[in-house]
């Protein structure tokens, strides 16, 4: 068969037929188009956010509390100081709760639980937590800490709701990083006679630290943008508060309450607050990416 010399045009016999080539071109074109479509909303959001948000920014925007006065111009409706401080305080407390617990559970999963049925159950439940809508976390905390104690809303209750939200993110990301710590490092330390807890604290955790910081920052960024869990756990007040046992304002809640206002100036404050929030979160994301790039593990 092969002895016979191919007759006719080689490309016509062995090449790709025009109809197949056309189909290939069309499919690739469609895929590219869809990719561009996927990027358009991002551009639009960032553009509109900058355009509207920068207009609302001024020095007094960051140094005054919202007044609740909605009838006059920008100068009298106040800024978003209490919202920024409230977000920072509540997210800081939420991180202080979620990070140690999350890392501890991840250490247990990797160092002790491994492939036992119990570890698999814990992993399953942590994944379940990941999928729980954030407003349901708000309901949980409301039931236990507001109904349960008969007291009112408070900043720390908001923090607890946020920490529930962060916990699964911290656990799963820390677990992934801890798994990447080479077994050889652990074994060397054990062979030198170090007890298990020394191995964990002096070898495993320091090695995994930069990678874990990335996951933590992403969890913090997620918590900072959440509105729903705060609505009936911490919100809402207009005043700056440093007392986590009292009502507390936050950026997302402030935006949410401003969106529904009929006054243009108040809606503009929402844009300014939204830009502030997005800049904060993008900064956290950026730092997380930079750190993860420098990490030797990931």
């Amino acid at each position: 068969m092969s002895a016979q010399a191919p007759t006719g045009d080689l490309v016509a016999r062995f090449g790709v037929s025009p109809s197949r080539r056309r189909k290939d071109k069309i499919a690739r074109g469609l895929i590219l188009a869809a990719t561009i479509v996927a990027l358009i909303p991002l551009m639009l959001i960032l553009y509109y956010l900058l355009k509207k948000g920068l207009g609302a920014w001024s020095s007094s925007f960051f140094t005054t509390d919202p007044t609740g006065n909605t009838f006059f111009k920008n100068s009298t409706i106040g800024g978003i100081k209490s919202a920024i401080l409230g977000t920072i305080e509540m997210v800081a407390l939420a991180s202080a709760i979620a990070v140690p617990i999350g890392v501890a559970v991840a250490v247990w999963l990797v160092e002790y639980g491994k492939n036992s049925w119990f570890a698999h159950t814990v992993r399953f439940f942590v994944d379940v937590l990941t999928g729980v809508p954030s407003i349901v976390f708000g309901l949980f905390i409301y039931i236990v800490l507001v109904v349960g104690t008969g007291s009112s809303f408070a900043g720390y209750k908001g923090s607890l709701a946020l920490s529930l939200l962060m916990l699964p993110v911290v656990i799963r990301s820390a677990e992934v990083i801890l798994l990447l710590v080479p077994a050889g490092l652990r074994e060397s330390a054990l062979a030198l006679g170090a007890p298990r807890w020394r191995v964990i604290f002096s070898i495993v955790l320091p090695t995994a630290l930069p990678g874990m910081v990335t996951g933590v920052l992403l969890a913090v960024a997620r918590a900072a943008g959440e509105t729903a869990p705060l609505l009936f756990t911490a919100a809402s007040t207009k005043n700056t508060s440093y007392d986590l046992s009292g009502f507390m304002n936050s950026l997302p809640v402030q935006i949410y309450s401003d969106v529904t206002s009929p006054t243009t100036a108040v809606v503009n404050r929402a844009w300014g607050a939204a830009l502030t929030l997005v800049v904060l979160i993008l900064l956290l994301n950026l730092i997380a990416r930079l750190i993860s790039r420098r990490s030797r593990l990931a």
């Binding site: 379940v128 809508p133 236990v144 798994l179 969890a219 900072a224 929030l277 994301n285």
Partner: protein, 340 residues
């Protein structure tokens, strides 16, 4: 046998004293208890939620609650059908619009894109996940919805013969705009998981397809897509879970009309939105009904997410020899990073 071969004899001499072993035990059991506490916490929350929702279920019955088309708190009617359907309509729209785009973006990023653009492209798509949902709501209601109102009206007029889609007056907040914004919100997670799954397709298979004379597109269709199907479906389901649970953006965009919308471009309500909107003023049975709505939401997302995890995990396991990757870790961490 072995102990005998240790020079100097007794192995007990080499072992740590009970006192030195104590911190080890403490750490081990302390951490185990902590892990168990997390399980206990979830179960506890669930039981409390059921307890709080019970008065509403007692009044309407579980089926009455889920399938009655009458949510009028002022007269004590708590039929959540308009809310459940609102949630399902908007989430389904989000899937229909979002998943094809997300998968296409993933295909482009893994198979067609120039190598140098790959990482920037993924980062850009994932930036969408960093935008908080309240900002999506703000942007949707003040920018997207007014801009699209004209075209929506055009479509509604042209398709007036199609039930539900056509006819009627287009309102600024409506089901469609909610679904569209939800589609944008689930894009990053669906895309990231699809990309992750596609990167597990063995090079041999792709090269074999190309070697047999397949074009790029045929290679994608023959070698990549079938291999990743369950992973992509799983990613889409995770996106669905997100869309179902999304609260604030939906509350802003859906119009919060406590009845079943008669058309796609009309106002409606969703489970999460009703909780966010009415919880502040609710009392008695109304409050309990809102807890019940939260419970339905919780169970719905549990089912969807459970199924999604199973699919993603199976897909990730099928091709990869166990042990070469950190389980499904990479996939899960991408998922969790796509939060907000």
């Amino acid at each position: 046998m072995e102990t005998a071969s240790v020079p100097g004899g007794d192995r007990a001499l080499l072992a740590r004293s009970p006192l030195a072993r104590f911190p080890d035990r403490l750490l081990k059991y302390g951490l185990s208890v902590l892990a168990a506490l997390i399980l206990a916490l979830i179960v506890f929350f669930f039981i409390r939620l059921v307890g709080e929702a019970r008065p509403a279920f007692a009044k309407t019955g579980v089926f009455g609650f889920a399938f009655d088309n009458n949510w009028t708190p002022s007269t004590g009617h708590f039929g959540a059908l308009p809310l459940v359907l609102g949630t399902l309509i908007t989430s389904a729209l989000a899937l229909v619009i979002g998943v094809p785009v997300a998968v296409a973006a993933a295909v482009y990023a893994t198979e067609l894109c120039p190598l140098r653009l790959r990482t920037p492209l993924s980062i850009l798509v994932e930036l969408l996940a960093a935008v908080p949902s309240v900002v999506y709501g703000l942007w949707g209601i003040f920018f997207l919805a007014p801009k699209l109102q004209g075209s929506e009206q055009w479509v509604a007029d042209r398709l007036s013969f199609v039930p539900f889609i056509g006819g009627g007056l287009v309102t600024i907040p409506n089901y469609f705009i909610t679904g569209l914004v939800l589609a944008i919100m689930i894009l990053p997670i669906v895309s990231a998981i699809s990309r992750e799954v596609m990167s597990t397709v063995p090079l041999d298979q792709k090269e074999a397809a190309l070697g047999l004379g397949a074009t790029r597109w045929e290679m994608i269709r023959i070698a990549v897509i079938p291999y990743c199907r369950s992973g992509i479906v799983g990613g889409a389901m995770l996106g669905l879970g997100r869309a179902i649970g999304e609260t604030i953006a939906v509350t802003i965009l859906i119009g919060d009309a406590p009845k079943l919308g008669s058309q796609l471009f009309g106002q409606g309500y969703s489970l999460a939105a009703v909780v966010a909107n009415e919880f502040g003023e609710a009392q008695g049975v109304h409050r309990s009904a809102l807890f019940a709505a939260g419970l339905v939401l919780f169970v719905l997302t549990l089912l969807v997410n459970g199924l999604a995890r199973a699919l993603v995990v199976r897909s990730a396991r099928s091709g990869v020899p166990s042990g070469t990757r950190g389980g499904t870790g990479g996939i899960l961490v991408v998922d969790t990073a796509a939060g907000a």
